[in-house]
């Protein structure tokens, strides 16, 4: 699978990309929101791991921009956040086209398990 990882924390992106690569997936990594949006708009990914809380241009900003441009429909976005998000925020994100909202810290096995669901849906 082609996976894009967007998080301003480089330790986190490095760890996840190492994990996903060893598990046989191809990973792209960006550490800021604007570059993330740019990549999503110009390339195709099977799944996007998106950190919600980033300075300047956050994960929520990316979701909003993709929602407004209508480009969110083709994306499989999993948001991650280390702060607890309310049910309202989660349902807003999902109504805009986010597939899944998960909490940090997360066992990478569990994260990958969720991402592989997208692949299963596609093959069906």
């Amino acid at each position: 699978m082609k996976i894009l990882i967007i998080d301003d924390n480089k330790d986190i992106t490095k760890m996840f990309s190492k994990y996903m690569t060893i598990k046989g997936h191809s990973c792209s990594v960006v550490n800021d929101g604007r570059s993330g949006l740019n990549l999503i708009e110009n390339k195709t990914f099977d799944a996007i791991i998106l950190d919600l809380a980033m300075p300047d241009f956050s994960g929520s900003d990316i979701v909003d921009a993709l929602y407004k441009s209508g480009k969110i429909k083709n994306q499989n976005i999993v948001t991650l956040t280390a702060s607890s998000i309310s049910d309202e925020v989660e349902s807003t994100l999902k109504s805009k086209g986010v597939s899944l909202c998960l909490k940090k810290p997360i066992d990478p096995d569990i994260l990958l398990g969720h991402i592989q669901q997208f692949e299963n849906i596609k093959t069906i």
């Binding site: 330790d11 994990y19 060893i22 809380a53 280390a82 607890s84 940090k104 810290p105 990478p108």
Partner: protein
């Protein structure tokens, strides 16, 4: 349609005219049967609860309040005293939004004087409460500023008077014209002073309001920030532990594996601690959100049973569930209730001996109460230690207890949650042969 039915049958003597009057009220109105079931509501009640009229009617009225017990107490008072005035309660919307209200309620009777039920009208005071709080804070700040300003003004005026008197003395021989000029100047200075004072007060008032607003935001964001900052470093720690453990970064020997497992265990413990601290904070600030839904106890206990049988398989500790009350559906927040059970059961696991450990959970009906319990055959808790048990960061201080770990917040959180859900938690132990925790809820 239900509405037409009600009109045609004219239950409880409601005429169409009376109904239209009730419907015209912007305040939530409700009639309740002597059994505590809702018999009729107006549109305003539907709006404030987020529940349709059909779904409200025939349900327990106390379900829609944040404090069902207090609601029922108020209801009982209506029967005892005939009516109540300005009884404060909070209505919970299906989306968890809370509306603070004051209730006026009285019994209503048929032609023969038989009590048919209770008629209750609520007045939304959410905004009033907010304004009252702001106003109080604001008045304090303004009063203080005014006091300081009055002091400064008085001082300046005193100095000014002194100076004027002095000048007048010096000018005793001077012309009336000069005195007039001086008086003019004094008046002018005083006028300017008043202007400046008024302006400063205005600016200060603005600043006070703004700083109050910021304080509120800061309080909300503080928790979110702390959670975020503490959880973020755990992501790579837990991630790399996983990779080492599964030999993704090369084979590791037994000693290395044990070290990694200790790191992982402690990282997870830190994660639990962060969640627990935030739960305590939410409970302290009354910000914990509860999602009240129907919960089938059969399902709840069957999940509990299969989950813990799996977990305890290797520990050679016996786990049983004993449901003395079956087919019960209650209104509660199931994940918070489960959190309480998880806390109590994990406590029990820590204090039972590995081979002879027995943990039993279950529920039973006692009069009109539902009682849950978690019972173990562990080392027990001495009578004199039981009182302090539910305090934060409290763990009974024996080396035996200290060795078992835990955050020391589990019981404080459990007590907070049980009470917010309208119940009471208690403990029973002879200090030798085990401990039983009880949670009692009204049915």
């Amino acid at each position: 349609m239900e509405f037409t039915d009600v009109k045609e049958k004219k239950p409880y003597g409601t005429s169409q005219y009376a109904r239209s009057l009730i419907e015209a009220s912007l305040d939530p109105l409700v009639t309740i049967s002597p059994e505590g079931k809702i018999t009729d509501v107006n549109e305003a009640t539907v709006t404030v609860t987020g529940v349709s009229r059909e779904n409200l009617i025939n349900t327990d009225f106390s379900n829609y309040f944040t404090e069902p017990i207090k609601a029922r107490e108020g209801y009982e008072r209506v029967f005892k005293e005939g009516s109540i005035r300005d009884y404060p309660l909070s209505i919970r919307h299906s989306s968890d939004q809370i509306t603070d209200v004051l209730y006026n309620a009285s019994v209503y009777k048929d032609d023969k004087g038989n009590v048919l039920g209770v008629f209750a009208a609520a007045r939304d005071v959410t905004e009033t409460k907010k304004v009252e709080k702001l106003l109080a804070e604001f008045t304090d700040a303004t009063a203080k500023t005014q006091l300081e300003l009055t002091d400064a003004t008085a001082k300046t005026q005193l100095e000014l008077t002194d100076a004027t008197a002095k000048k007048q003395l010096e000018l005793t021989d001077a012309t009336a014209k000069k005195q007039l000029e001086l008086t003019d100047a004094t008046a002018k200075t005083q006028l300017e002073l008043t202007d400046v004072t008024a302006k400063t007060q205005l600016e200060l008032t603005d600043a006070t309001a703004l700083s109050e607003k910021l304080k509120g935001v800061a309080k909300d964001e503080f928790s979110a920030m702390i959670t975020h900052e503490l959880n973020t470093p755990l992501v790579p720690i837990i991630g790399y532990c996983k990779m080492f453990k599964t030999s993704m970064l090369g084979r590791i020997d037994q000693e290395q594996l044990e070290a990694i497992e200790v790191i992982e265990k402690n990282a997870k413990r830190l994660e639990t601690l962060i969640t627990d601290i935030m739960d305590v904070r939410k409970l302290d600030l009354d910000q914990m959100k509860f999602k009240i839904d129907d919960l089938s106890l059969d399902e709840f206990f069957s999940n509990l049973d299969s989950d813990y049988k799996k977990i305890l398989e290797n520990k050679r500790c016996q786990f049983t569930t004993n449901q003395h009350a079956t087919n019960l559906v209650i209104k509660t927040d199931k994940s918070r209730l489960r959190q309480v059970f998880d806390n109590l059961i994990s406590n029990a696991i820590k204090f039972v001996s590995e081979n002879k450990g027995k943990i039993e959970t279950g529920c039973m009906k006692e009069n009109n109460k539902l009682v849950f319990y978690v019972k173990d055959n562990g080392i027990g808790i001495l009578q004199e230690k039981q009182k302090e048990l539910f305090q934060k960061f409290y763990q009974i201080d024996t080396s035996e207890r200290r060795s078992v770990g835990g955050t020391g917040l589990g019981l404080a959180i459990s007590k907070g949650i049980v009470e917010k859900l309208g119940g009471i938690i208690s403990v029973e132990s002879d200090g030798k042969t085990g401990t039983t925790f009880y949670m009692k809820f009204s049915l």
